[in-house]
Each structure stands twice: as structure tokens, then as C-alpha cells.
């Protein structure tokens, strides 16, 4: 029997943009900055589409939590091959303080509501690098988890997943329903072609609020300050090996 997949797509600052901290250090500058789908989520979407192409999956639902602009990210997922989308609308102050636990509760609620067999997420988002959502969704649902996946095989309601671990890989088997998060090597996402981009405009997109899902998104942590990484100190040139050695000695490195 074919499964139903829920895939999470986060709208994040594009990876190629140079991120700047706001002058008052309360966050990073997002206004007028190019946003795109979180690259790890793109890999998750691609994996879902491949499972559908293999007839393992019957339906792919994309979900994104955030302001209206998230709909653009969802349209991208639809153009790539998702069947329908759910936009959980969160605006203003609520969005600024939105944290992984709240997102996990929202995704878990959607998964239950839609009778999902597999939640596919990126292993982390490139903006906050939290690497928490997949694990917490599994915890909240009491489902097994297979995170940092670099290969996924699904047969008879079971997933065989190769995971990236320190110094190598391990392969585990989990029973569905389960949560899988995508690592970089899982696949190479495709380009969306024009007819699909057009068709995506007509695919259904449901809008709901955290309230509709009965989830409290109140933050449990407070962000105090954002800092830029320290600027790299420029190197110097030495004219001879002797000078290099004496400099290293000076600094007590040799």
C-alpha cells in the first residue's frame, strides 16, 4: 500500500546571501533580502518525489510555517512535484520568536490530522542551524526517527535508511510511521520545469493557524543578542624561512 508523505519546507535566507546582524543586535536583517527554500528541505522534497515516482508514495503534502511569503516557498515545492500544500500562517512578533519546539508541535499536529505515514524534513535549516525539529517531531508523535539520511529504501511499511555518522555510515531499519531527515548526499534536487511551475499555481493550498491545530507557539527561550563572527585578522608575509621560524618562536608556536 502506498504511503502518504508530509514534507516540511522552511523559507530561509538564501544560502548565497551575506547575512548581516541588525545594528541593535536583536536579529539579522531580512528586509529586502532574497529568501529561498532551505536547501536541506529541497533535498527532502526531491526524495519524496522520487518515492512517488517509484510508486512507493501516493501523496506528498508540503507544509511551511511562517508569514505570507512562505506560500512562494510552498509553490516551489508544488512545482517540483508535491501534490498539495498547507500554509500555517504565523506573522509579526510571533514569527520572530518562533522556535523549533513550536514548529515540531505544528508539524506533528498536521501529521496526525492528515494520517501521514512518513514525515520527511531537512536535517536542519541553514539560517539557525538548530537541528532539532526532526528529532522533536518523532518524540512528540512517539514515532521512530532516522536522521541524517543519505539513502532511503521503503518496503512493506518499513524504511531502510543509511545514515551519515562520524567517520562512516550506518544503516538502520525503522517501522512506518516514522520521521526521516535528509542529509546533503541523499540526492541532487531537480530543476522545476515550466509546465510544472504553471500547474503548481493551480494546486490546492490550505491555510490554517496554530490555533486551528490546537498548538501553543509561545516561546520558551529568549534571544538576548546576536553577534557577527569575529573578523579574520589579515595574515602577513615573511621573506625567508628564518624569519618564519623566528616569528613562530616569538609566538611560542614552535
Amino acid at each position: 500500500m502506498a504511503i502518504r508523505i508530509l514534507v516540511g519546507v522552511k523559507r530561509a535566507i538564501d544560502y548565497a546571501v551575506k547575512v548581516q546582524v541588525k545594528t541593535d543586535k536583536t536579529g539579522v536583517v531580512t528586509e529586502g533580502v532574497k529568501h529561498s527554500m532551505n536547501p536541506f528541505d529541497e533535498i527532502a522534497v526531491e526524495e519524496a518525489i522520487r518515492l512517488k515516482e517509484k510508486k512507493v508514495a501516493q501523496e506528498i503534502i508540503a507544509v511551511s510555517c511562517g508569514p505570507t511569503q512562505c506560500q512562494e516557498t510552498l509553490r516551489t515545492a508544488l512545482a517540483l512535484g508535491a501534490d498539495r500544500a498547507i500554509h500555517v500562517e504565523i506573522n509579526g512578533k510571533d514569527y520572530e520568536t518562533l522556535q523549533p519546539l513550536a514548529i515540531s508541535k505544528l508539524i506533528a499536529a498536521v501529521a496526525k490530522k492528515e494520517s501521514i505515514d512518513l514525515v520527511l524534513l531537512g536535517k536542519q535549516a541553514i539560517d539557525d542551524d538548530s537541528n532539532q525539529t526532526g528529532q522533536m517531531v518523532a518524540g512528540l508523535l512517539s514515532w521512530p526517527q532516522a536522521v541524517f539520511a543519505s539513502k532511503v529504501d521503503i518496503k512493506d511499511k518499513q524504511a531502510e535508511v543509511m545514515r551519515e555518522i562520524d567517520g562512516g555510515s550506518e544503516t538502520i531499519r525503522v517501522k512506518l510511521p516514522a520521521v526521516i531527515t535528509a542529509d546533503l548526499r541523499l540526492n541532487q534536487p531537480r530543476f522545476a520545469n515550466l509546465p510544472s511551475i504553471q500547474k503548481a499555481k493551480k494546486k490546492p493550498m490550505a491555510k490554517m493557524t496554530p490555533n486551528d491545530l490546537g498548538v501553543d507557539i509561545k516561546p520558551h527561550q529568549e534571544y538576548l543578542s546576536y553577534e557577527e563572527p569575529p573578523k579574520r585578522q589579515g595574515g602577513g608575509r615573511v621573506s625567508s624561512v628564518d624569519e618564519l621560524i623566528s616569528k613562530l618562536k616569538e609566538k611560542g608556536l614552535v
Partner: protein, 496 residues
């Protein structure tokens, strides 16, 4: 001793295959120990390079079509040093090959015989940027990409962009009036050059380094040096008008069945994208396939077809850049000008799609020995030439690919013929002068943006006529009476 003598007077094997009759002009002096010690004193810290291994990268062009035998490479850091070098060379009748990033494609940037290489690489201070006028002053040896990063801090961008941006130098860009992919938007580089500082052949300084957008006072002397490929003087500093950077970009890659449909898509893009249009490029299927293979791009961005067109839009906002491109894509698909396409969804895809076009030269080099041509032609005739060349190359079994791509928006065709087992004289004679004559008949240009360099100088008259050529020779005589600057290049050389 004798072997050294012979080596100086004939070309290297690599240059010889293309220019078998070329001989060193006898009136140039040969380098003596006295000359070398003068330059070593002038340029301390190893900036007068004589080691043959260290000289060799300055002697060969990157697509390996010619190789000089210079035994001296000079890397001045200041304009004073450049003046002293040229004063000395002028006095002693020593020939000089000025060199920028050595990314040229016409054999203009490397010495032919034993000319002294004068590399501008170390003259690389970035001067002032005026935020009110958007004018940047920079030394000739600054790398284009470095300057782009610099002006980006002020919200501006360089008025040109090309594949070699990471290694080409701005002085070389101006000296060759380099083209690239932004001509559709910002016009030819010439229009962005507001001022130049030039060291003339005798070492004197010509100061035209103003930053004025408007200046109608007499004959505009700097114009003669833009695109003159280093035969009239040495550009040492430039003042460039840098446009505001656009934060919103959009990029679409579309496939088409015929070149007619490519042209229809271009016309539609001009109409629908209007002021946001920033680049229109095309590739035929053989170029496209070679490029994908070279990039090891496994997932095909679009359904394959005979032709591909890249359209880029830029605007102050993403929404605007995206909206005009969307409209183009939908209308072109509706009108059946295109059969498939994709729009870059993020900046990674934007870079990946551009790479298919920008890294074509690399893909061609990987395919074999490259016969490279760069023509300006009326749009309707552009691909006709590729087809006729394909027909003409049919009998040659060593020809791998005859490919056409280029800057469609500027009517600039890059025609390339790749050959296995290296250079072939037979193929060259089947191509030249036939190609040049074909282009001249269409009133096109035999060199749209690459310049004449060494390889195309003898066809200058065919393209420009006798009158123009005579005037150019007179100009050369005024600026460089001893002919020490970049000899054998641009103007046809009588012993070739």
C-alpha cells in the same frame, strides 16, 4: 650560442603551426646582460624575472594557441617604474609585450619572439570610489572580480561581467574593450570608461584620468587606446562609471526547436521584460551538451531540444525581476516559441544555470583543439554561418564538433570547431579565409569582442578597408614610432 640565436629568430613550434612564415623583425635589439642588470636594479625583490620556468606561464596563452620565448618578465608596482621601463626600451629599441591577466583569446597577450613581457599584475591598488557619481578609480592591474567585490560594498557593480572575471585585469579589459554578458544592459565597456592614464611608448605620461560623464573639449584622446590591444600605449589607471547593483535577479533557461524561435523569444523578451532585461544568451545543442558533460551535471535542467536561450532580468526588487521573467516564460510557452524551460528558484540554481553558459570555453578546450571565432552578424544570419561551417567540415573525420553559442542580445556569435589529435593545417585552410570573407560579405565583424591579437591581424583590411588601415598605421607611427609596443599584433605584419 648559435641555438640561442636561432631560437630568437623563429617562432616556437606552437606559434609556428598557425603562423609558419612569421619572422622576427630584424630592427629590434636583443636583450643583453646590461639590459637585464638595469631592470634588476629598477625592480628589486625579484620583480625582474629571468628564470625560464618562472617566465613560461607569461609566454603561453591559456587556450594554448601560441607561445613566446621571452626571457624577461617585468612586474612593476608603480607608474614611475613603468615609465622608466618604457623610456629604456624606447631608447634601446627593445620590443615589449604588455600583459594583463593573460586571458585573451586571439594571441594578443603573449610575446611572439623575445619581447620583454611587461606584466601589470603588481600595479594593483584600488583608488577612490565616489559614492555620488558611482565612479571608481583603479590601477590597471586590479582583477575584475576584486573590483566588483569592492564596489559591491557601496551598492554598485562593475559595468562588465565575463567568464574570466576571476583572473582578467581591468587594464586588459579596457585595452581590449572586453565584451561579456552585460552588454545588453550596460552597453559596451567603452561607454563606461570615463578616464584613462596612459604611459606612451617613449615613457611619457598621458593624463586623461578625469571622472566626468560629460566633457566635450576637443578630440577625446583616450578613445584611441580603448580596444587598441596595447599597440598605442600602456593603460596604467582607469576611471570607470559603475552602475547601481540590482538586488533582484531572475534567470530562465528555455529550450527551442529552431533558431527562428530563439529570435522570436529574444524579441518577446525585449518587449515583455523591458527595462529589467539584463542578458540574452544562446547555445546550440552541441555546445549545451558539451557544457553539461564538462560540469558533470547529471539532472537535466530542461527537456532537450536543438537550441537553448538564457534570459536574465534584474531589478531593484526580486518581485519585479521574477514577475517580468514569469510573464515571458508563460507567453513564450503559449506562443510555442519555447518547448520547455526552468526558472532559477534560488541563487544556487541561478549560479548553476549561468555556469552552463559561462563555462562553455572550458568545455570546448576539454573536447579537443579549438578553432575559435568571434563574429558580429545580423541576427537572422547568425546561425546560417554555423550550418554552412558544419557542411564544410563534414569531409574531415578529425572534426569533433562545430558549435555555435554567444551573446544573442548583442548579435555576437561564438563559432567553435573542436578537432581531435591537435591542430590541423588542412582544417585551418578550409576555414580561413572562407569564414572571414563570408562575414565581410554580410558586413559583419571578424572580431566582435575578442580583438585581433596575433591570429586575426592579417584580415583587418578585409574587414575595415584600405583607408581605415592606412589611418591606423599613421596613428601607430605617431604614438609608437619605433614600434616597440606589442609588435606583430593587430595591424597586419608584413612578414607574416
Amino acid at each position: 650560442m648559435w641555438s640561442k640565436f636561432v631560437r630568437h629568430f623563429s617562432t616556437s613550434p606552437l606559434t609556428r603551426v598557425r603562423h609558419p612564415k612569421l619572422r622576427r623583425a630584424p630592427h629590434y635589439a636583443t636583450l643583453t646582460d646590461r639590459d637585464i642588470s638595469f631592470f634588476e636594479r629598477l625592480l628589486p625583490d625579484g620583480r625582474a624575472i629571468t628564470d625560464p620556468d618562472d617566465c613560461s606561464p607569461y609566454n603561453i596563452d591559456w587556450i594554448k594557441t601560441c607561445q613566446g620565448q621571452s626571457q624577461l618578465v617585468l612586474r612593476p608596482k608603480t607608474v614611475d617604474e613603468i615609465q622608466a621601463i618604457l623610456r629604456y626600451c624606447h631608447e634601446h629599441q627593445l620590443a615589449v609585450c604588455p600583459q594583463g591577466g593573460n586571458t585573451g583569446l586571439a594571441g594578443g597577450s603573449v610575446p611572439v619572439f623575445d619581447e620583454i613581457v611587461l606584466s601589470l599584475r603588481s600595479l594593483n591598488s584600488i583608488g577612490a570610489f565616489d559614492e555620488n557619481s558611482g565612479v571608481l578609480i583603479a590601477d590597471a592591474g586590479c582583477i575584475l572580480q576584486t573590483l566588483d567585490v569592492h564596489v559591491n560594498q557601496f551598492g554598485h557593480t562593475m559595468p562588465l561581467d565575463l567568464g574570466a572575471k576571476g583572473s582578467c585585469l581591468i587594464g586588459g579589459n579596457v585595452a581590449t574593450n572586453a565584451g561579456g554578458i552585460r552588454v545588453v544592459r550596460y552597453g559596451s565597456l567603452r561607454s563606461a570608461v570615463l578616464g584613462l592614464e596612459i604611459v606612451l611608448a617613449d615613457g611619457s605620461l598621458l593624463d586623461c584620468l578625469t571622472s566626468l560623464r560629460k566633457d566635450n573639449t576637443g578630440v577625446d584622446m583616450k578613445q584611441a587606446f580603448i580596444g587598441s590591444e596595447g599597440i598605442l600605449g600602456l593603460i596604467t589607471r582607469v576611471a570607470l562609471a559603475c552602475p547601481s547593483a540590482m538586488s533582484g535577479v531572475g534567470l530562465g533557461l528555455f529550450s527551442c526547436t529552431s533558431f527562428e524561435n530563439i529570435l522570436s523569444t529574444m524579441r518577446l523578451a525585449r518587449k515583455l521584460c523591458g527595462e529589467t532585461l539584463s542578458a540574452i544568451e544562446f547555445l546550440d545543442s552541441s555546445t549545451y551538451n558539451l557544457s553539461l558533460k564538462n560540469l558533470q551535471q547529471t539532472n537535466k535542467p530542461v527537456e532537450p531540444n536543438n537550441f537553448y536561450i538564457l534570459v536574465e532580468t534584474m531589478s531593484s526588487t526580486y518581485e519585479q525581476a521574477k514577475a517580468t521573467l514569469d510573464k515571458l516564460a508563460n507567453t513564450a510557452l503559449e506562443k510555442e516559441f519555447i518547448t520547455d524551460g526552468t526558472l532559477a528558484q534560488d541563487l544556487k540554481q541561478y549560479k548553476d544555470l549561468w555556469a552552463i553558459r559561462e563555462r562553455v570555453p572550458e568545455a570546448l578546450v576539454a573536447d579537443g583543439y579549438v578553432f575559435k571565432y568571434d563574429f558580429s552578424l545580423p541576427p537572422a544570419r547568425m546561425y546560417k554561418l554555423v550550418e554552412e561551417t558544419q557542411k564544410r567540415m563534414k569531409p574531415f573525420s578529425n572534426v569533433r564538433n562545430v558549435t555555435g553559442f554567444g551573446h544573442l542580445g548583442d548579435q555576437n556569435l561564438h563559432l567553435n570547431i573542436t578537432v581531435q589529435n591537435g591542430y590541423s593545417d588542412e582544417i585551418k585552410h578550409a576555414l580561413e579565409p572562407w569564414l572571414y570573407e563570408w562575414v565581410a560579405k554580410e558586413r559583419g565583424s571578424i572580431s566582435a569582442e575578442h580583438g585581433l591579437g596575433l591570429h586575426k591581424s592579417k584580415y583587418l583590411e578585409l574587414n575595415k578597408g584600405k583607408q581605415s588601415l592606412e589611418l591606423m598605421k599613421k596613428m601607430k607611427n605617431i604614438f609608437d614610432p619605433k614600434c616597440i609596443l606589442n609588435p606583430y599584433k593587430v595591424l597586419p605584419y608584413k612578414i607574416d
